[in-house]
Amino acid sequence: MNDIVLKVKNLTKRFPGVTALDNVNFELRYGEIHGLLGENGAGKSTLVKILYGIYTPDSGEIYIDGRKVVITSPIDALKHGLALVSQNPQLIDKLTIAENLILGLTKLGLMTPIRRIYGKLRELSEELGIEIDPNVEVWKLSYTQKQLVEILKALLLGAKVLMIDEATTLLPSNEKRRFYEFLRKFTLEGGSVILITHKIREALEVSDRITVLRLGKVVGTVRPNEVSIDEVRMMMFGKRIKEINYYVEEQIKALVRDKVVLEVRDLWVLGDHGTYAVRGVSFNIHRGEILGIAGVAGNGQNELAQSIMGLRKVVKGKIIIDGHDVTNKDTVKVRELGVGYIPDSPLKHGVAPDGSIEDNIAMLPCIARGIVRWSYVRSLARKLISEYDIVAPSTKTPIKLLSGGNIMKVLVSRELSIARKLLIAYNPTRALDEATAMKVRKMIKRKAWEEGTAVLLISEDLDEVLQLSDYVAVMNSGKIVSLIPKGRIVREEVEKLMVVK
């Protein structure tokens, strides 16, 4: 009797510069909730993305109900009963819920009226215990509602296997509880769940079995009642045990943090859909100070950073850098004041893929004006390459040929070298390996302490925020809900404040 619904054999996936999955073997049984744990970059997301047809494996096989299958696209995956719900709902904002969901119903012809599925949608949402108006445009929904629509979609398309990729992380606790109750009901009716979360405790509570991945390899599969949290942590991190403090705290008495470099007063900024992303945010950052903003992505942090840089319109409020009012002024003016910027999506807003390292440095007005002194640019490029161990054939290589991590290194090193008064850093160590991430954090600390650069650090990595900041602010739903000085931080309290209502 075959009780295995999904089996993965010797699956391998490589990206430029990194092996994401290395000969992974994995089995999912009917009716089970199977937790998938591992730290960032362990390969969990890659595995489910392959199962959902978003990535193609370099080698290996996938079996569903004992039959070998090849999954080439999400449509394929859905046909086989596999559905993925990820942290970022993949819905189209301008369309209504019904319009979004009808797209996946491949059995319906193209001329099917949208109204046809209203009934079924209402039925399913009742089962789920929620109220959904199929005629509402998706951009009007809250984050939680969007996640629920994703589940609705999976049910509508008859999914047998639900793959949940960190989708629960951002739900408020009562919603989360209901969500897990629903998952249990789903498995009792014969469905299976792969649950990816980094909350070890939650995974142990909810799962029937747990598989741990580390650096692309399967470490082991265990039952929750047979292991302790610490044992699981050992499996996830290996010999290294994460420490909160690995910097030597230096008391710099000489640097007087008197001057306010960045002042943000009652800032209101619109998001992309006509609603306010930043709602009345105020804070100050002094010379040499690091203010860390913790919070789940999508609560206004990006819009805040962009508005400070002059890339997004401020509706109300003021931004003052070094005494100059830069509210709604051009990015040119902000940069002239000596501001460095590590943006959220480096490939989108930070570097030009076709340009060489030299070009990407010379494009900054503060480095090159009029006739370019290429010898200077080249020497600067070489300095950055050696300091940060950037792997690149030459300073003239187009950046798009470098690996993701190296591209990030070019961006970060460039910005760190030009930021004088202020540095706005959004996820500065994303995609960086551990050693480089540490180096970057040390550089940021040094810039603040030795050069007096004020730093606004926005990061989704709470550990990073807690390590580097002098003050930690928590941003939730566009507001700063708390501002805590370093000495008084309790991690659990911060996490609680981050949860979106």
Binding site: Q90, N100, G104, T106, R115, K153
Partner: protein, 304 residues
């Protein structure tokens, strides 16, 4: 009263020609493909309509060949830019030039044939006569086209799929549609309408042909579509404005004592003006273009 109705109906040929072209163009662009080939294919379709009418002796069949030719180009453009990571602008412009070339090579010989036929049969003509019946039919066709497309776009899965492909083809793909198939359909239907519009332009409104005939008028339809936010109903308004201007151009000329060159310039200046007005007003926000219009749709597997 009669003359008023007559004057209104007189606008019908120009109106239908530009409206159907703009309607088809907007429909296609809603699927996310930047359609810069419009003028080339419009010009080609005009030439094909003329040539078909000459060789087949029947203008009504010419509408069909014109629509078919245009449709093929639409499918080609949709295919190239969706299957391959090619810049929409480059692909569109290439097809535009091809359309110009083919159109001239199809139209020129047809002119000779026309003259030959005329010598033996003085009554021969390629146009569809402008009777009140024709005008009313044209208007009805426009209205039917408008309603049909409106229904498809807002009420059917196809419409949802087209708009999804235009907003976010990656998400659309993840949601379960074959973006390529949808864009091919949008290209076929949209360009068929452009072909019909071009045929009306040639056979009803300006039934003549010389080498530059119709060149640039595809761009006027482009502007008509853009300045009405690609909305089937609003495009009727902008089309009416332009059609009125073009139909009564001679009146304008006489009233202001303009040179014919200046008069011919007015629709083009109006096109730029219309686009400017649209972009300057809040209309731009409400009727925003598809978010991924012109963006290269290519599945890149990167971790960053």
């Amino acid at each position: 009263m009669d003359t008023i109705i007559q004057s209104i109906l007189a606008v019908a040929p120009a109106f239908t020609a530009y409206y159907l072209t703009a309607l088809g163009h907007g429909f296609f662009e809603k699927s996310g493909v930047l359609n810069l080939a419009i003028d080339g294919v419009f010009y080609l379709s005009v030439a094909v309509a003329y040539a078909s009418a000459v060789y087949m002796g029947n203008p009504y069949m010419a509408i069909f060949t014109s629509a078919l030719t245009a449709s093929i180009f639409g499918i080609l453009l949709a295919f190239i830019v969706t299957k391959l990571p090619i810049s929409h602008g480059a692909a569109g412009l290439s097809l535009m030039f091809l359309g110009y070339g083919l159109g001239a090579l199809i139209g020129n010989p047809a002119v000779f044939r026309f003259r030959e036929i005329k010598m033996t049969n003085i009554e021969f003509n390629i146009n569809i006569p402008r009777t009140p019946l024709t005008n009313v039919t044209l208007l009805l066709v426009s209205i039917v086209a408008c309603l049909a497309l409106l229904y498809i776009l807002k009420g059917t899965k196809l419409g949802a799929a087209i708009r999804a492909s235009g907003e976010d083809p990656h998400a659309a793909s993840a949601l379960g549609i074959d973006v390529l198939k949808i864009r091919l359909l949008a290209g076929a239907i949209g360009y068929a309408l452009i072909g019909i519009g071009a045929a009306i332009f040639e056979l009803v409104w300006l039934p003549t042909w010389q080498q530059m005939h119709g060149m640039g008028h595809g761009w006027i339809a482009f502007a008509i579509s853009l300045s009405s936010g690609r909305h089937p109903v609003l495009t009727m308004l902008t089309s009416t404005a332009f059609a009125t201007l073009l139909t009564y151009q001679y009146l304008l000329q006489a009233a202001y004592n303009l040179s014919p060159e200046i008069a011919k310039m007015t629709p083009f200046i109006a096109a730029i003006a219309a686009m400017t007005i649209f972009m300057v007003t809040p209309l731009r926000r409400k009727l925003s273009p598809p978010l991924s219009l012109g963006k290269i749709f290519f599945k890149e597997e990167r971790t960053l």
